[in-house]
Symmetry: D2
Subunit: 469 residues, 4 copies
């Protein structure tokens, strides 16, 4: 999971890129970077930390230019190494290429092997460098940018939302299933922005035009956008976890409000799995929308049993004497008066390993709860994700090898219920076949070694019928 | 507003002091410090920043000892200077004195003048150094600790919750009106803690025994607490703003749950000032409890129109090109789908200058709200605070010189209503005479130069009838 | 050992104070601080590290004002604690007092006890706070500044060069024996400076007027200096170690060039203790001047056998595997070609514990020296210093309990010789009775508990005959 | 100019690499890095700053392995960008390649163009990446390491001392003219080291075996070194500036003591260009050895007129009021007593732009020198360097377009003289044809676009007669 943004405009873009990345910070807190293009020169800066820590006013001013792109990173493939911080910047035959990528390829190793044979040696372990190598290789051999993108999309398999800047011209493309989100916006005073989520557009005062279509490639100018459909599929496969957890609640992804999906999930969950209780409380922050839905549908009062600590700072320290000072207490503050002697419904977004759920339930019980009913706004996660989510292995996923009853026992909840897959799909409001539910069903929308595929019929569009962008 | 804590126990206390201060972080983010006493030596460390930034595991280990105290600071009297970071540590005649203080004295200048005449020269502008000078002066002249505390409490006027450590023995005392909170807890495995709020006790697994009584002084040992009532008053004057805003929602202060006061305020506010609207939304974070109360009482659905940004980092930077990137957007993310075309009730805790309210309402309107009704969970603030709250001058307090109608116009709300003072008092659940409502009424519970006093009848207890603690 | 400076001028002084302290950096690298006075306000800043690390351009600009003083600190009495960083700043009865001090008092404890009885409680363990307490106490009781200085100088015993700023007026005074240096300079464009060494005057383009006389007190204005002799002595007792080691070689102290003293010492040492050798090499940096003298007098070629590492950085780290990577090699690089098979005279300034000498000789031997003759430009150090030098205890001073022959054996030198006391005195060029040679003779120029005094006949001047400055 | 080192041993090498780089710090202070190889994994760390700032004890421990290499960087080709910090680390076909390089190629652009055509896209602007691309390309196409090195050396033109580590095996090679230094050492307890200068060997207790021969390639094992001569030349072309300025004085380069060259240069300079003066003083630090030679030969006493400031810290700040506080004073402290009224010979290593010389002479005059005779231990620099020295353009080189008399006038010296080329060559002690004197003569030892070549007859050795190392 990462966040990306690119802007071309009639004004200097580094400030707006900053705010766009700032708004996408929830997609990655490890590192951030921006590259801009000004009159033949690529200006670039990147570092570890939050966007507000990496960049200063002086740095932003040094990033001059009316075209640029940026990235916030949450590490998936590749580990935490300085050379993996994006954007990546390359030089070849006098051309400059800067590139950012959100998603995960499943055929990286094959492509690395092939391009090493063609003469490229890799500085990083990132699949983004593979995408860059393919694009550069095509361009060096005299192909057009459009041909290079087509060839690249044909070669790579997986989830990808890519923005790149070639000699100061901005391009973007999205995988044929639209697994990872990418949307397009317009500045009133001249300019376009492409970013992972609509909140980045809100943050800079840009108007949401539409999502970049699955399989689409676009070239962005300040005054116009040149689209070209490169690939098609029978149906998209939008990542369900964007709606469940990743995206910011105030985003609109592929036309659907994330907050409303979450609230409706809570509503349906209350119907599917009612609980006789005194209060409904979210596990903050991600369970809040679902909890309000659950409360509204059940009529049980909404009351926060747990309040998130506003001042956790950066450094996580843990003195040795700490039996009585448990880690979860650092982040969550129980409201004793809402808990003691009460029966509590806790609404959380998901269960991964079960460890956190167990600790939270223990904490609520320690503060005197009579009963703790856990309601989960996603179906059980039974399989790993190969397409951009950093889930652990099958062995570590508690729901992979335990029934709901067994999980309930393990986390010591009074009762436990998940929303059904049907309920979740209803809340999202598109057919199930339009979603990637690999982690919930074990069936993936494209070929992955050793896993079951439910083909979405991806095809290239005949290039002769599809003139260059 | 500051947060203080002191612990004496059968175990090393620096780790628990760390977590106690961590839990009190909302009371002051400017700086933090801890002093401990181990076998004749005072170990001490303090610095600027959040508790989690000031202290490291190594530093905590170097703060050895089974007695100690700490402080988090929000600057009131004295300005932001390194020498003002507490605890203050003094040496005299081979004795060591460490001291922390929450509150504000109103006769500091008189006392400084007097003690300068007696030979003390001051290194800081803090009223805490005045308290220390008085205590030390009495002790040097051969008085007992109990006499020194009595004399000190007789001399100083204002709000104060004080913890001090004299040669490794821990003491605490609270002003006769109990303006600032201070509570007492017990560790299961031997030890006592005194702290500003009960959440600090929760954070270290200590049990809340009771509040330190107004006018009471206590000596703490690991196995026993020695109380002594020094002063009395006809009634206490607990600060209403602790309930409205300062205290953490999950605290219990002077026997009353802060969250419940806030939620009940929202409930009563819905009765007093209904609004025909599509959704009720808090201004996060402090309006959340009141907003749930308002929603429940009004039947209007609770939906977050604004979501607080989780990743704001430390550095506040503002590139010059920023017309379109307003500051308030950094902290609050509007949920477009809940706002566009809707009539919104926003619930906030208070209005001080009016600037923030105006910006938030403009932001919500910009995202398409049809109507924005602001409901405020406190009466208008019309007068300054001399007793520990960092309110601006009368001139800057918008409600001091504007009627509610005029404020509504200034902040461009569709409608505006405050809870009545009666409503607030009902929500707190004690007689109005037990509260300090100076900022809401202009009448203060003790003598302040140029202000109206509503005397609470403070008296010293006859020391002959009140044996030493 | 510390460095101090004060300036009053027709221009903003913080920049010049910065460069003055920068030039005095060799006197203390632990911490630095500056206070200035501008229109009723004292501006101040201090911190750990080198002057160039503590201050930034922004900080210097914030230190506005045409009067100010500063300090660089090397810890002697008081330990390394933030509150001990000077200048100290005090407030009393509306007056502001900032003070810096170089030297060491020998009756600190008596004075602390007395002033605690008078009502002062101490925040630090520094003897500078004692000096401030005495001055403030006198001023509060209605005495004039001149009376306060007189009384203070009568009360304190030890070495002291003090600069203080009272409500923006700059004063300085020096102990009656002139143990620690203090000199006075003038700016061409209006202003005066007082500082520990003349190099500080060179650094800011000021002209050296004269040294502050032993027992003298001065008030400085931009256009004039008001002197007043407070105390007299039969003869001064200038610290010999300033000439041997402390002062920067390019300083002129009490009228004598430090470099010339050092070079002449080397010259005389060659006469007193010749050595048949191939080269003469300094132990850098402090032995360089003496080594050039030794080479010139002996006719043996001057060649550097050891070169100082220019890039040692701040962090001293020492991996565990380090048998082969000895600490001394980090700082000194042997020139193999000058050493292998050669007989080498090494000239060093002094021997304290003997450890460093032993390591250096071993290093030179390891690089193949046939013989290593150590020549020391000071007599053996046999007694501790109570007056400002951080020598270790008698037990740790190798020359206290070992003869020169035994020391030679311990440090494994081929031969070892010190300059005689007579030689050193001849090099300095003043009578021996004008110097403090406590560490070399065990006889001190003032009364120190348990040590032998060689009285210098200190007396107060009749104040009736000595009108106020 | 950079410094490089590689070690393979029977022990963990990161500590020794640290000290080796520490000893090479004078060759580059911008950044440093180390890569080690342990059981299939490459551990790596690099950063900006001095070696002692980049690495901590923890970091060194994490760099496990018995083989490794490191680099300190002074920026030449490529600018100051994080991605240019060496070692570079690459991955291809499961192999790992780490590489460091000191020197400068003159056909980088041609090679970049060619390898971009073969499929490599470059992440950096460094010529080291070109060397890596060539090596990797050969290896991927099935050639042996020996063939890859041969092919690489045939392809690249310029100065280069390269160390690389391929899957944990350490190799080094040096350009056929031996322009940049590289020497080989042995650890007593098993292991070999290859490094830019012999001081790195001294620093880790290794014995200097020999220099790596010009045109030689070696493979290093802990117990043995496998040499192979790849190229030959009629004569080497060792860089004269290593002897004049770059190398540390205590190094031995290509069999010659750097200190002795410098001292002898001073000696010959005194014969060539005598000056009637009172003292001879170096411009510290680099003029010291030559000044002692000049003093010895002339009989004029050696006395330091300028002393280098030991405590300059890192931050260079310059308040605006600074007319009287000139930058050069920050670094050099004039000894007034040696200057006032005296005639001074200043000995410096070289004149580049003339600016520094002018400032120093002005400073010495300001302190009262009667005459200032500048003697320069190198001939005039009249042409740029393409082979690793960061000289400015011809226009900025003052001696390129001004006669010695004109330069004297420009820098306001009383007299000015340079050592003759013949004198310098005599001091070094090898035939002039064995040196690269491009910057002094404008004639370069290899073909450089637009410059005059004096061919050294470089040839490849017949590979059939030269079995693989």
């Amino acid at each position: 999971m990462c966040g990306i943004a690119g802007i071309v405009a009639n004004f200097e873009v580094s400030g707006s890129l900053y705010w766009a990345l700032y708004a996408l910070q929830h997609r990655g807190q490890e590192s951030g970077g921006i590259s801009t293009y000004d009159n033949g020169t690529v200006h670039k800066y990147k570092g570890y930390g939050l966007v507000s820590e990496v960049f200063t006013s002086d740095i932003l001013q040094s990033l001059s230019g009316k075209t640029g792109l940026g990235h916030v990173r949450y590490p998936t493939t590749g580990g935490s190494k300085p050379e993996n911080i994006q954007p990546f910047n390359f030089l070849f035959r006098g051309h400059s290429l800067s590139i950012v990528h959100n998603g995960n390829l499943v055929n990286t190793n094959d492509l690395r092997y092939e391009y090493e044979g063609r003469g490229h040696i890799f500085s990083t372990t990132s699949d983004t460098e593979v995408i860059a190598a393919i694009l550069a290789n095509e361009l060096i051999h005299g192909h057009t940018v459009g041909e290079a993108i087509s060839f690249c999309m044909r070669s790579i398999r997986g989830s990808y939302a890519v923005i790149f800047m070639l000699d100061g011209v901005l391009y973007a493309f999205r995988d044929p299933l639209g697994i990872k989100p990418l949307c397009l916006g317009e500045f009133e005073d001249g300019g376009h922005i492409v970013a992972s989520e609509s909140v980045a557009l809100d943050a800079v005062g840009a108007k949401l035009l539409r999502d970049v279509a699955p399989g689409e490639s676009i070239r962005l100018k300040a005054d116009k956008v040149y689209p070209r459909q490169i690939m098609t599929a029978k149906s998209p496969a939008h990542c369900v976890f964007e709606y469940i957890y990743f995206a910011r609640a105030d985003s609109v992804i592929d036309g659907i409000s994330v907050y409303d999906v979450r609230q409706k999930t809570g509503f349906l969950l209350a119907k599917e799995a009612p609980a006789g209780a005194d209060i409904v409380s979210p596990v903050p922050d991600s369970g809040t929308a679902a909890a309000t839905g659950y409360a509204a549908a059940s009529g049980i009062p909404f009351r926060e049993a747990l309040i998130k600590n506003r001042y956790t700072g950066r450094t996580f320290i843990m003195p040795t004497q700490a039996k009585r000072e448990m880690a979860v207490r650092m982040k969550l503050n129980p409201v004793r008066g809402h808990i003691t002697g009460k029966s509590v419904v806790l609404v959380d977004d998901s269960i991964v390993r079960g460890t956190t759920s167990r600790r939270i339930i223990a904490l609520v019980r320690e503060f005197g709860a009579k009963e703790v009913h856990l309601r989960v706004a996603s179906p059980p996660i039974i399989a790993p994700c190969y397409l951009g989510t950093d889930f652990p292995t099958r062995e570590e996923l508690i729901s992979n090898h335990k029934s709901v009853a067994e999980v309930r026992e393990a986390i010591e909840a009074t009762s436990l219920a998940h929303i059904s897959l049907e309920g979740l799909v209803e809340a999202i409001g598109v057919p199930c076949s339009h979603l990637c539910t690999g982690c919930l069903t074990g069936k993936y929308p494209l070929a992955i070694d050793g896993e079951e595929e439910e083909s979405h019929g991806i095809e290239m569009i005949d290039p002769y019928k599809n003139p260059e962008l």
